[in-house]
């Protein structure tokens, strides 16, 4: 049962990590446009020369 001394704090840390991750993704607008990125990945702008 000693492993609980590690696992319980670990679970708390994990909860905060997951929460922070979700917060960051919400804030950075990742949930605002759920369609666009799927298409955008197909574009390569490497050969677009600036003027």
């Amino acid at each position: 049962m000693d492993i609980l001394y590690l696992l319980i704090p670990l679970s708390v840390v994990l909860v905060f990590l997951i929460g922070a991750l979700f917060w960051w993704s919400l804030r950075s607008g990742q949930f605002d446009d759920l369609e666009g990125p799927a298409h955008r990945i197909l574009q390569d702008d490497d050969d677009a020369k600036g003027d």
């Binding site: 049962m1 609980l4 001394y5 319980i8 704090p9 679970s11 708390v12 909860v15 997951i18 929460g19 979700f22 917060w23 919400l26 605002d32 446009d33 759920l34 369609e35 666009g36 298409h39 955008r40 197909l42 574009q43 390569d44 702008d45 050969d47 677009a48 020369k49 600036g50 003027d51």
Partner: protein
């Protein structure tokens, strides 16, 4: 994914013209173009180094709008500060931001093309295009680039963009919704995790769990409860603090007290090794309450959104005709600068920029935004048009009559604002009740704590917390406002504005519906109702003769006759037309002298009337037709009853309400209308004082009276009635002083409103009964210590949620009084 067949335009995909003289050089190859427009667009794209667009696109590109050149001039409008005020945010001196709506986006390559194209402009700070909403958020430096230039550049590659006006309100609503969702998420996530630590403690048999592990679990729960209490529950603490500072008691006070005390005591128990901690109850309680609040907020925002569009109905720009009628050259001006008497050209698909009347042309106007009426209204020359309505069919020239604050749209907006600014009496009442309730709850909690201190000191605190939480009147406070908000939004979508806070409540109680003008039941103009041919001539022939006689007249009866008389009926030319004012018209038709008009006027020509013609069968306006020595026909005219009036009256009756007519109009007209609609109680020729006295008499007998009128006249009567309903007619609306306004001018709106109000009342009642009943049962249980804090949390939270969900049923429930059969029922009513 290759889209370059040789027979069609490389850019837009349309067939190539025979001549084949348009080309553009794309990635080193000459590609055929169908027109100079596509050539220009393709060259702009290739010239910008963006030709790879053509390799990745999945649909053909947009064609350059035919009127692109003209639009270029229009775009300069968007640089004017007074126009920009509506949609440009000034972030810094050298940084402006606006949201643009993009038209022509068909595939992801379009997004890439626009983003790349725009981001290379000098002075462009950032471009973000949302694929789902087709909106671009642009930031630019006004020192080096103008908004019109940005819009023109988008037009140059074949797309169209215009500013999304007044995005500010939407943005803040979105932010509020996002923050609320995040609070719910934190509380929910915390709750689940805390529950994981709490369950072993509940399930473990005595002595199987070491103190260390128990402490560790409690510490973990504590850490996870901290964000729930200090972040998710923050609105409750803030609300409670605000209430206390204002020296009143709201429902946030017991919530904050319960959460605060339970948290503090649990923290203390954690560190001193106390018997019980209730972190699980705290997180669950907060989560359930936040769910209820979140749903309530969503309903509120949705109701607001159903009215918000009104604000945006008026277009930003208008085409002013300065030299009409000599020239049709129009000049683009901001709609705000229009003045009374200006002539503007409104093309199909555009909105009318102000209220006015049509000077030239004929079209259909779609007023569904304003009135909820889905059928476009036909507008002839001279007809009134409403600013914000959409011109559907053909271009028209409109003379501006009312602008800005005087327009109908503004009047509606003000009505709505006034309504939302007033708190309904019932909400105030429940708030007052809730305040007393809260005071009682706190006292009872304190008292039971004192009693329990003597009985079992260890449980005193938890009993107090359970009492606080379980009996907090959250459900009571949510019961009414949520239902009312939802109902308001729903009424608005049907073209009914509840302009006063108490309108919905009063609507539900109406027992007597009084029409104060026959004009509310009739169409307000004369129509031919019957033709009695007296000399064996056909009715058509009589009508033809009458039409010939009345052809030059502008009398309302002449107009009614001429609309009915078909052109095929022989219209013999009338000669020697002689108009005798107040009597009729005389003329020679086919050599014989004919007269049309009053009975005396015609009998002077036709001789003594027969018995048949003297009988007055009903109260209609009559006109006689005769020629020398002979009576020809008798025409009856009446103000036509509105098509739906029969069914409406029937429906009001079916709903257990009495229908009355109290009118100031002449007795015969009122009687005719009442007879035809089957209204038994009617009085005519009443002065405003008489009407007020009649309404008072009804009220003394216990009636709740709704007065239906045009909302302008008879102010004392309208004030006397518990509820006044105005049929929104044009300009009158701005002066309307009614509780409820039917924007569409259709009586159906009244029946809808009554149905929705009735439903709202039922739901509010259910909510209140539930909230009170729940508290009555829960309180004794909590005081006697039978309810633990976690039960209290579930009970209260679930109760609030239930009340909100019950109110949300109003969103799309069908009112009891509107069924499909209604449409058929109205048909014979004309």
């Amino acid at each position: 994914m290759s889209l370059s067949p040789t027979q069609s335009c490389y850019h837009c995909g349309l067939p190539l013209p025979e001549s084949g003289r348009y080309f553009a050089l794309i990635e080193g190859k000459r590609q055929a173009m169908c027109c100079p427009g596509c050539q220009a667009v393709a060259e702009a794209i290739a010239g910008g180094g963006l030709a790879s667009y053509y390799r990745t696109r999945t649909t053909y590109g947009p064609r350059l709008a035919a009127d692109a050149q003209r639009e270029r001039a229009d775009l300069a409008l968007y640089d004017r500060p007074e126009v920009q005020a509506g949609f440009v945010r000034r972030i810094a001196q050298h940084e402006h931001e606006a949201t643009l709506i993009l038209e022509g986006i068909t595939c992801a390559a379009c997004i890439w093309l626009n983003e790349q194209h725009l981001s290379r402009l000098r002075g462009m700070l950032s471009v973000q295009i949302n694929y789902a909403t087709r909106r671009a958020r642009v930031r630019w430096d006004p020192q080096s680039i103008q908004l019109s230039e940005i819009l023109a550049r988008i037009a140059a590659i074949g797309y169209r963009a215009w500013p999304a006006s007044r995005a500010g309100a939407e943005e803040s609503a979105k932010r509020e919704a996002r923050a609320a969702l995040w609070r719910v998420f934190v509380a929910g996530f915390g709750m689940m995790q805390v529950m994981m630590y709490a369950v072993p403690a509940y399930l473990a048999a005595e002595g199987t769990m070491s103190d260390d592990i128990r402490l560790l679990m409690r510490l973990a729960s504590l850490v996870l409860t901290v964000p729930v209490v200090f972040y998710s529950a923050a609105p409750f603490f803030r609300g409670a603090w605000r209430d206390l500072r204002l020296r009143r008691l709201g429902m946030d006070v017991p919530v904050a007290l319960g959460v605060g005390v339970a948290f503090a005591a649990s923290v203390a128990a954690t560190f001193t090794g106390g018997a019980e901690v209730y972190f699980d109850s705290i997180t669950m309680f907060v989560f359930l309450l936040l769910c209820a609040r979140y749903l309530e907020m969503r309903a509120r925002q949705k109701a607001a959104a159903s009215l918000e569009y009104l604000d945006k109905a008026l277009p930003l720009a208008a085409h002013r005709l300065s030299a009409y009628p000599t020239s049709m050259d129009s000049e683009e001006v901001p709609a705000v600068t229009l003045q009374r008497g200006d002539l503007v050209l409104v093309r199909p698909g555009e909105s009318f920029p102000a209220d006015g009347s049509i000077v030239q042309g004929e079209t259909e106007s779609d007023e569904s935004l304003l009135t909820g009426e889905s059928h476009p209204v036909h507008k002839r020359t001279g007809a009134e048009v409403t600013g914000g309505a959409v011109n559907r069919v053909s271009p028209v020239v409109v003379r501006v009559e009312r602008v800005g604050e005087d327009t109908r749209v503004s009047a509606i907006c003000r009505l709505v604002e006034r309504a939302s600014g007033q708190r309904p009496r019932i909400t105030e009442l429940t708030d007052r009740v809730a305040a007393w309730f809260v005071a009682a709850v706190i006292l009872i909690a304190g008292a039971s704590a004192l009693v329990w201190l003597r009985v079992d000191a260890t449980r005193a605190l938890w009993v107090a917390v359970a009492v606080l939480v379980v009996t907090c009147p959250c459900a009571l406070s949510l019961a009414t406002p949520t239902a009312l908000t939802v109902a308001l939004g729903r009424l608005a979508r049907r073209g009914v504005v509840a302009a006063r806070g108490h309108a919905i409540q009063a609507l539900a109680q109406v027992t007597h519906v009084v029409f104060d003008k026959t004009g509310t039941l009739t169409e307000g103009r004369l129509a031919l109702t019957a033709v009695h041919a007296l000399a064996g001539m056909t009715s058509e022939r009589c009508l033809g003769l009458a039409a010939a006689l009345e052809a030059g007249s502008e009398h309302p009866i002449a107009a009614a006759l001429l609309t009915v008389a078909s052109p095929q009926a022989s219209r013999d030319p009338a000669a020697e037309l002689r108009n005798v004012p107040g009597a009729g018209v005389e003329a020679l038709i086919a050599g014989a002298r004919h007269r049309i008009g009053t009975r005396t006027f015609v009998s002077a020509l036709a001789g003594v009337p027969t018995g048949e013609q003297t009988t007055e069968t009903c109260n209609a306006t009559r006109v006689w037709l005769g020629r020398e020595g002979e009576w020809l026909a008798c025409f009856e005219f009446a103000d036509r009853i509105r098509p739906q009036a029969h069914a409406i009256v029937q429906r009001l009756r079916d709903g257990g309400r009495q229908v009355l007519i109290l009118s100031g109009d002449a007795p015969p007209a009122v009687e005719a209308v009442a007879r035809r609609l089957g209204v038994e109680s009617f009085e005519a020729g009443l002065s405003p004082e008489d009407k007020q006295a009649r309404v008072q008499a009804l009220q003394r007998a216990g009636a709740c009276v709704a007065m239906v009128g045009d909302g302008v006249n008879d102010a004392p009567v309208l004030a006397q009635a518990q509820l006044s309903v105005a049929m929104g007619g044009g300009a009158l609306l701005s002066q309307a002083n009614a509780d409820v306004v039917l924007l569409s001018g259709r009586l159906q709106g009244l029946v809808d409103a009554l149905g929705i109000a009735e439903q709202t009342r039922r739901i509010v009642q259910q909510n209140l009964v539930w909230a009170l009943g729940y508290n009555i049962v829960a309180l004794p249980l909590a005081v006697t210590g039978l309810v633990t804090p976690w039960m209290a949390g579930i009970g209260m939270g679930a109760s609030s949620l239930l009340v909100v969900l019950n109110s949300l049923r109003l969103v799309d429930a069908k009112p009891a009084q509107e069924q499909g059969s209604f449409e058929q029922a109205t048909q014979p009513g004309g």
